[in-house]
Structures are given as structure tokens and as C-alpha cells.
């Protein structure tokens, strides 16, 4: 890579069920403006804008990036839109970083969003196809059988999923931007919440949120002049695989394993559990924490659920490798933005700027996003130091 790149500004809206106070354009502008403020920059300091957005079908708005140019101050500037389903927030940050690393642009504003209150994300992609009965039961219906297979193979205690649901909401209660604020949530409350897609309960699933997240990414020279501490981008990787093929390993997809291997090699990570101080990982359904712990090499095969139950990933249990200190996707899910929030929250940690959910002295953090049928992966490693 020719140039070093770093996150020098981070902006997030409050995540909530309905942002009736703003249009979609207002929502993205809010996040973008906060990122500029955080970097102490103005619109004029930006060379290009990169927008990320989950499927257009959600809000029924085709090519929304065109409509957003005014709101993002990029008339007459290069702008690009990225789309990789639920992983798009991560992929968008990586595309922005790549343009800076290549030397093409010196400073980029990148923004992702979802306004679920104006959309129907659950059913928008469940259109009828003649070669399949019309039974698509949303993302939960797709992932529940895969989770069941994980539980069968590992003989995991059913408590592991419940523990993640509680842990991430307790983390979220430390983060004023998190959608769900459930500081008193208990294992019993999660266990007694209604089944949606057995084995997944209501409280083991992510909420539907409105929100946007923005980053300012600049090259080394400009990052050094930045008033606040930059988060240095130490590695980026994306991988994908088909949704369906004979012999596909759905519980621990090959694309996720390969993506992690690539990004760890770039950042010099050999033992993720030891080398990282924390991680922000895309966990929209509770069981995806133990599954990704194994897929990403934080736990041995079949052992992820034990690590979760032991509290290794919990701030409140003083775990050695806290996951999703911000509350994660289980606390806020503006789909298109969710991946970028993971990347942004990883950056906040290594900047020492994560407020009440800060991991003391965090120096190296992983940001992770996945999408589609767990087939698109995007990851980055950010550090407080350049190398």
C-alpha cells in the first residue's frame, strides 16, 4: 500500500426506532456534519464522498446517492456508492480507505445509513420466486436453521445465546447513542421473551433502527495535522462466496475465515484473542457471537459458546477480549450503517474516545461486518499507532 490512511473524524446519529425529525438526507447530513466537527474540518476540506447503502428495495429509493449529493456537500466532487448488503457499512469504509491509500484522494468523507422506519427491510427482499415456495421469513428465518446446526454440532448450552443478548444490551446501556437502552435486562427476561424463529427469541434479535454513521479518512500527512488522535488503518480485507453451493459450510463460512486471515496478516496479528484489545463484530442474532468467535479464530472450533458463557467478551465481567462494547448490532441496527458503526467503534476505542464503553488503553481493535446469506465479509484492523 502506497500511503497510510487513518480515521480522523467520526460522526454518528442517535440510533432509534423512528427519526421523524429528519428526512433521509437530513439523517446522513447529521452524521456527516458530526464527523467533520470531530475532525475540525469543513465541507471544503473533503476531496470525495463515498456513500454506502443496503438494498434500494428497503426504502424503495433507487440510487439514493444522487439525491444525497446536496446534503453531503458534494456537488462537483467525485462521489461513489457502495452496496454489499448488510456488510456494506464495512465495505464502504474499506473503499474509502483504499482511495486514500492509493493516493487518489487525500481526504474522504464516507457515510452509510438506513431509515428502517421508512422502509420494510423484513419483507422487501422476500419477493416470490417460482422455484421456491414463498416462505421467506426474513433474516431470522434464514439464519435460525444455521444456528440450530451450530448448537447441534457443539452441544452448546442454550444459555450462551441468552448471555450474549444480555451482555450486548448491558454494553449498549453505556453508549448513549445505542437504540436499545436496557440497563436492567436479565437472563430470565431474555429467556421468557417470545420465540420468533426457534431457537431465536425476540430479545436475541436485533432491533430495527434509523441512523447514519460517517467517517473522515485522510492520508498520513493530513492525519498528523489532525487535532484529535487518529485511528491508523492497519489492514483491510473483503471476501465473498455464493449463498448456495453443494458442500457449503454455512456455520463457519470459508469467506469469513479467509477474510480474517488476510486482515490479520496485514496487521501482524497472530493470536486474535491476545493481540486485539477489543472487537466490534456484526452480531445481529445472539448466537452469531459464539459462531464468529470460532470463525474469526478467537476460539477453538466448538468452544466459542464456552468463551461467551465465561464472560471473556463482556466488559461487565472484566473479560479479556470485550466484543461489541458499543452494544453492537443487537442494540442498534440501521442496516446499511451497522457495518460502519462496527468500524467506527473500533476506531473510537483506539483513539481512546469511546466514553463509558472505553476499554482501558485499547491499542488494537477489529471491526467486522457480514451480509447477505453470511456470504459477504468486510474487516479492518485499526491501531493507536501506525505500525
Amino acid at each position: 500500500m502506497a500511503e497510510l490512511a487513518a480515521v480522523v473524524g467520526i460522526g454518528q446519529t442517535k440510533y432509534q426506532t423512528k427519526h421523524k425529525d429528519v428526512s433521509i438526507a437530513g439523517l446522513v447530513r447529521d452524521a456527516a456534519f458530526k464527523a467533520l466537527q470531530d475532525a475540525e474540518l469543513t465541507w471544503d476540506d473533503i476531496d470525495a464522498v463515498i456513500v454506502g447503502k443496503a438494498p434500494d428495495m428497503f426504502e424503495g429509493m433507487v440510487m439514493p446517492e444522487l439525491y444525497l449529493t446536496d446534503a453531503l456537500g458534494c456537488n462537483g466532487k467525485p462521489m461513489l456508492r457502495v452496496h454489499t448488503a448488510g456488510s456494506v457499512g464495512g465495505s464502504t469504509a474499506i473503499v474509502a480507505a483504499s482511495y486514500v491509500q492509493s493516493g487518489m484522494f487525500k481526504r474522504i468523507l464516507t457515510v452509510t445509513y438506513e431509515k428502517q422506519s421508512e422502509s420494510n427491510a423484513m419483507w422487501a427482499l422476500s419477493n416470490a420466486q417460482p422455484f421456491s415456495p414463498h416462505l421467506n421469513a426474513g433474516a431470522g428465518g434464514f439464519f435460525a436453521p444455521i444456528i440450530r446446526e451450530y448448537m447441534r454440532r457443539t452441544q452448546a448450552s442454550p444459555e450462551a445465546g441468552i448471555k450474549v443478548a444480555v451482555k450486548d444490551r448491558l454494553h449498549g446501556a453505556r453508549n448513549p447513542l445505542a437504540h436499545l437502552q436496557l440497563p436492567n435486562i436479565t437472563m430470565k427476561e431474555v429467556e421468557e421473551s417470545p420465540m420468533l424463529w426457534e431457537p431465536l427469541r425476540f430479545l436475541e434479535s436485533c432491533p430495527s433502527s434509523d441512523g447514519a454513521c460517517a467517517l473522515v479518512i485522510s492520508n498520513e500527512e493530513l492525519a498528523k495535522q489532525s487535532p484529535k488522535k487518529p485511528a491508523w488503518i492497519r489492514g483491510t480485507a473483503m471476501r465473498s462466496e455464493p449463498t448456495m453451493y453443494a458442500g457449503r459450510e454455512e456455520v463457519s463460512p470459508r469467506a469469513g475465515i479467509d477474510c480474517a486471515k488476510d486482515v490479520y496478516a496485514q496487521a501482524g496479528v497472530t493470536n486474535p484473542r491476545k493481540d486485539f484489545d477489543c472487537a466490534e463484530v456484526y452480531v445481529p442474532f445472539s448466537w452469531y457471537e459464539p459462531m464468529w468467535l470460532e470463525n474469526l479464530g478467537f476460539a477453538e472450533k466448538g468452544e466459542g459458546w464456552k468463551m461467551t458463557l465465561e464472560g471473556a467478551t463482556s466488559l461487565d465481567d472484566n473479560g479479556d477480549i470485550p466484543w461489541n462494547c458499543s452494544g453492537g448490532v443487537l442494540s442498534s441496527n440501521p442496516i446499511g450503517a451497522s457495518g460502519m458503526i462496527r468500524f467506527a467503534e473500533a476506531a473510537r476505542q483506539v483513539r481512546g474516545d469511546a466514553g463509558d464503553h472505553q476499554v482501558d488503553g485499547a491499542k488494537l481493535a477489529l471491526g467486522h461486518a457480514y451480509g447477505g446469506g453470511a456470504q459477504f465479509f468486510a474487516m479492518w484492523v485499526v491501531g493507536s499507532e501506525k505500525a
Binding site: P130, P133, H134, A137, A144, R148, W197, E198, A246
Partner: protein, 171 residues
């Protein structure tokens, strides 16, 4: 104040604006063949010339090998439950009452699963490895659709070990 006037004073912050998209589905060669056979009450998949795995419904190519699939294979109507979920929320516009079971099923001789409904059994009795069989609608109702099969129902056969479901026998 009349209701009409009161309404006029409420600030309008949004309007409902549904989008309707009607498509003509162009199935392509493989899916068209499959649907033609489904209309005759037959399940026909395609075998990959490279890895020998059988795809149903066939999409004309093996996504693992990246090669076209041409060889057709007629498959029996018995299947094994690879995994499943019990759904507690209704599907909009679908008369099926929750809770219902959606299963990933691997038809005998196939190496990939498809989704279908499971019925004629207690939800709590459904398990990975369970043997089931297609229950077809009356032939007068058959169209170019997988809905020609109303659902799958359990049959009295021993469970298949999970490691063997969908795997090539000689692999």
C-alpha cells in the same frame, strides 16, 4: 373544532407511498426445465460434471466449480431434514398459521437443500436427520411452481446421521 379542521392543523411529517413492482420472471434454461417438470409432478435436478454434486432446483451452473450443469437427474420425493426453524410470526398474505416449521430439506440423491414447509407432525418432534416425503397438491392445481408440493410430511424411516445429509455417497 370539527375533526376535519383538527386534522388540517396536524403537521404532516410523512406520507405512505407504496411501491409496486411487477416482473415477468425469465427462468432461463435450467429453471425453465425444472419448472416444466414440476408441473408434471416430477423433481428434476442437474449434476455438476466436475464435482458430481446434484443441484435442485438447478440454476444452470455449479457455484462451487464455476461450470455449466447439463446432465438431468430425476430425483425421488423423499428427503431428509438438514435443519429447520419453527416460525412464530405470520407471513404477510400467506394463510399459514404460526407456529409452523420451515425446513432446509435435502431430497434423496441431491447435494443441496431447499426450503419447504413441514406438516402432519408435532413441531416439537421435528429434528435434524428426520425423514420426510413430499405431499403434492391435486394435479389439477399444478402450475410452474414449487408450491405444487403443499408440504413435506414425516415417514417411518430411521434418521440419517447429520454428517451424511447431502454428502456424496462415494466422496
Amino acid at each position: 373544532m370539527s375533526d376535519a379542521n383538527k386534522e388540517a392543523l396536524e403537521p404532516i411529517t410523512g406520507i405512505e407511498s407504496p411501491v409496486y413492482l411487477d416482473y415477468n420472471f425469465t427462468a432461463g434454461q435450467a429453471t425453465a426445465r425444472f419448472l416444466t417438470k414440476v408441473k408434471e409432478g416430477k423433481l428434476v435436478g442437474q449434476r455438476c460434471p466436475s464435482c458430481r454434486n446434484v443441484y435442485i432446483p438447478p440454476r444452470g451452473a455449479c457455484a462451487a466449480c464455476g461450470v455449466a450443469t447439463n446432465e438431468e437427474v430425476e430425483l425421488p420425493h423423499k428427503a431428509t431434514v438438514q435443519s429447520f426453524t419453527i416460525v412464530y410470526i405470520p407471513i404477510p398474505g400467506n394463510p399459514i398459521k404460526p407456529p409452523y416449521v420451515i425446513a432446509n430439506l435435502v431430497v434423496d440423491g441431491a447435494n443441496i437443500s431447499f426450503l419447504h414447509l413441514l406438516s402432519e407432525c408435532k413441531n416439537e418432534d421435528v429434528r435434524i436427520g428426520m425423514r420426510v416425503e413430499a405431499k403434492w397438491k391435486d394435479p389439477s392445481e399444478w402450475g410452474f411452481a414449487m408450491e405444487n408440493i403443499q408440504y413435506f410430511a414425516p415417514i417411518d424411516e430411521p434418521d440419517v446421521p447429520a454428517e451424511e445429509i447431502g454428502r456424496l455417497k462415494d466422496a
